[in-house]
């Protein structure tokens, strides 16, 4: 059965140059025009190959299998390959949590070869939350990012992201698999998720053009992956990288979109199974780590884990 959602690299390119470049150029907070082109060029690998499927078990598994098969045939996978599916038969979230992925949502995986330096690699998961939130806000929806990359509106989750690394078996190349699941026109959730999850069409009261939203999200991923590479170049150029550098463009945009700073939160490595402590978020560091103040007045820094707003 042919896939319903069928964006192509050509349609993504057209969208990028027609809409994304212009919207970035008109934003006074964005870098100067020459740098905008440079950033888009850096991110241009995103969507260089787009596979569209009607159904599969999991896109992350499909990505691993695809990399393995391509390498078996003596070729290598194009970094930036996107695998999309209209529906997932056996989706899962982190810690083997169940995930609901019926027709109507945007379910996929972006394959990136690990060409990043440590700092960019650490910030990679932020690109998903920032890109999704930007695309959702373009629809006029008041969404925000909760550290690390949850996208929420009115306290309900619009999207879920997974980033996993994969060491390819034949050539030993490292890849990052950026899994995304965004609730677009899927309006029915399992009972356990009804009060926690929401879709774009539920918020807007009408269906959203899935194809257009996919292009918008991938265009913003192009920009934000490009930003990571651009910032890497800037840091290498200065030959000195301060841990305290605070003006990383991706981090600045994360701060613009996030409502986490200043919030009272429950923190846990696996928040659903084992919440650990309550704290107030006081900042985000240059390496993406979150700074929280505990009730005894001491600060704690976490490089991973999950938050729940209180």
């Amino acid at each position: 059965m042919p896939a319903i959602n069928r964006p192509t690299p050509a349609s993504l390119q057209e969208y990028l140059w027609k809409y994304e470049k212009n919207s970035r150029s008109q934003n006074p907070l964005q870098p100067p025009p020459d740098n905008i082109l440079q950033i888009l060029r850096y991110g241009a690998i995103v969507g260089s190959v787009i596979q569209c499927h009607s159904s599969m078990d999991r896109t992350m598994d499909q990505a691993r299998q695809y990399i393995t098969e391509i390498e078996k045939s003596g070729k290598s996978v194009a970094s930036g390959t996107v695998i999309l599916a209209d529906t997932l038969v056996r989706p899962k979230g982190r810690f083997a949590r169940t995930w609901h992925a019926p027709v109507g949502g945007l379910w996929g995986c972006l394959i990136l070869a690990d060409t990043f330096l440590t700092k960019a690699r650490t910030l990679l998961p932020l690109t998903l939350g920032v890109s999704c939130c930007e695309a959702v806000r373009d629809l006029g929806i008041d969404a925000s990012v909760r550290w690390v990359n949850d996208v929420l509106t009115d306290g309900r989750k619009l999207a879920g992201f997974l980033v996993e690394s994969f060491h390819s078996p034949r050539y030993g190349e490292d890849f990052h698999l950026l899994g995304f699941g965004i609730n677009i026109n899927n309006n029915c959730f399992p009972a356990a998720l009804t009060n926690m999850a929401v879709s774009l069409s539920q918020i807007l009261g009408s269906p959203v053009n899935l194809h257009d939203f996919t292009l918008s999200f991938l265009a913003k991923m192009t920009w934000n992956i490009g930003l990571l590479c651009y910032e890497e170049e800037q840091e290498l150029r200065t030959s000195y990288c301060s841990e305290e550098q605070q003006n990383h463009l991706l981090l600045e945009q994360w701060k613009n979109l996030s409502d986490t700073l200043g919030r009272r939160v429950l923190y846990g490595y696996d928040i659903q199974q084992k919440p650990l402590y309550e704290a107030t978020v006081t900042g985000i560091r240059a390496d993406g780590a979150i700074v929280m103040r505990l009730k005894d007045g001491n600060e704690i820094i976490e490089h991973g884990g999950e938050l729940q707003y209180l």
Binding site: R121, P125, E164, H167, K274, L294, G305
Partner: protein, 225 residues
């Protein structure tokens, strides 16, 4: 791992000098200003989440950005390179040594670390066992789990990026687990200690021997004093 372990020599070594000497080096380049003197007592991080920093050891300033470095272990300052006070030092330059008094449990751990194959953390991150290994540990206990090179054993998690870690050492059983899921582990710190199945009795002998003899040695030492 040595087939024969000279327990008497090991115990004597720890008995005669039951301390770890922890060298503290400059974490980055910069101008150093010490916060301690020789003989000062220093505390390790405390609090339920080890969030209260240990005693300040020195301040290092680079590009007008001062950074206080605190003690990660408790003890007494055994030596300080006071000649470096106010000087610009390179990252990695040795600055001071903390003499850390060992407890019986730490002595056992130190000896085990000498005889086990240690699998270190590749980055500062949070770690947890892969789902398969975790469920096997829950059912049978870690020491019933045999791992071999190439097995996916641990997931490294950093900013919600999960990286599977594959075992690269000799095949064996998971004898010691040095990390707690949810707490960060520094790069290079051991995550697990592995030993070959046939060496397990020997390892157990080490533990039993230290447990039995350590208190006796300490008692004797106290009497002699």
């Amino acid at each position: 791992m040595a087939e024969e372990i000279d327990f008497d020599a090991i115990l004597k070594k720890y008995h005669s000098d039951p301390y770890d000497y922890v060298e503290i080096c400059a974490t980055q380049t910069g101008r150093v200003s010490f916060k301690i003197t020789e003989g000062s007592n220093v505390n390790s991080p405390s609090g339920e989440w080890l969030h209260i920093p240990g005693s300040p050891l020195f301040e290092i300033t680079r590009e007008r950005n001062p950074k206080i470095v605190t003690a990660k272990t408790n003890g007494t300052i055994a030596s300080v390179r006071t000649e470096l006070e106010g000087q610009f030092v390179e990252a990695g330059e040795k600055l001071l040594t903390i003499r850390h008094p060992l407890k019986k449990k730490e002595v056992i751990e130190n000896i085990l670390k000498e005889v086990l194959d240690l699998f270190p953390a590749p980055e500062r991150a949070k770690y947890f066992f892969s789902l398969d290994i975790q469920s096997r540990i829950e059912k049978k206990g870690a020491r019933a789990i045999t791992i071999k090179p190439g097995d996916e054993i641990i997931i490294m998690s950093l900013m919600k990026r999960d990286t599977p870690i594959y075992y690269t050492g000799e095949a064996g059983v998971i004898h010691s687990i040095y990390f707690t899921p949810g707490l960060s582990v520094d790069q290079g710190q051991p995550l697990i200690g592995i030993c070959a199945s046939d060496k397990l009795p020997l390892i157990q002998k080490v533990i039993t021997r230290v447990k039995a003899d350590w208190d006796k040695l300490i008692e004797t030492a106290n009497l002699e004093e």
